[in-house]
């Protein structure tokens, strides 16, 4: 699980062009949206693409995303349970 969290942070920084943020800056339970990393709605769509492309998880219900993308912890837990890649 720790490897996956580290991998997720790397992928998020790269996919969302978070140029000023390092892996160490993201705590596992930091909120990804709002006051945390300050991601926006386009970033949310990028995360949906990332889940599909890298882990074979297709999210169709936007409400699901709100829970899954709360933090690195919630993302990693969901991926571990549902991944097909």
């Amino acid at each position: 699980m720790e490897n996956l969290k580290h991998e997720l942070k790397t992928k998020i920084i790269e996919a969302l062009n978070l140029e000023d943020i390092a892996i160490e800056d993201i705590n596992d339970d930091d909120p990804l949206f709002g006051d945390g990393l300050g991601l926006d709605s386009i970033d949310a769509l990028e995360l949906i693409v990332l889940m599909d492309k890298d882990y074979g998880i297709k999210l169709t219900d936007p409400k699901e995303g709100k829970t899954i993308f709360q933090s690195i912890n919630t993302m990693a837990a969901y991926i571990t349970e549902h991944r097909s890649k």
Binding site: L18, E19, I42, D43, E46
Partner: protein, 205 residues
Amino acid sequence: MRKPFFISDYVSIRKNSLSLNGETIFSDAQETSFKDFSKNLYKHIEMNYPKFYKMDNLSKLALLATETLFKNKNFIPEQEEIALLLSNKSSSLDTDLKHQESIADENHFFPSPAVFVYTLANICLGEISIKYKLQTENAFFVFESFQPDFMTVYAEQLLQTGKAKKVLCGWVEYTEDSYEAFIYLVDEQGVLENRSETLKKLYLE
């Protein structure tokens, strides 16, 4: 009698170099990529706008030139009623191609929303408007080359009819092979009259 307008300031970005009012203020090694050059220039002009890194190359180019010009004016842009009038040759082709690549293979079909939102040239006007809180007239034209005659007439029309007090005009062109920005501010104050001949000269400087 026709009121004269002036080119108060102008910025050029070409070949890893930026000049303000004819004076080079930043230059990188010629072999530097635009990605590195834009990042170095962003730091040099002390921008602090993380969203910059999420933008497409055309918007980055337009924003770097605009930021340099606005900083030199030392004003609060949102209080100046500045209309935007930009143009180029290749529209958003650089981003369009990136998007096309992401959807070319049906077995690897992963279009990026963050890329797709930049598949229009006038998005760079939106980025400028958001950054400087401008709620003014804006237009983006696609021409074969920079058109000083058209730009002069269009900018003056905006000013003479009271649609704006200043107009940020120019040419922002980005392709895989090259890039170029020439941005200038048309204002009531200045030394260089907003004339086609003057623009031709400044553009070729």
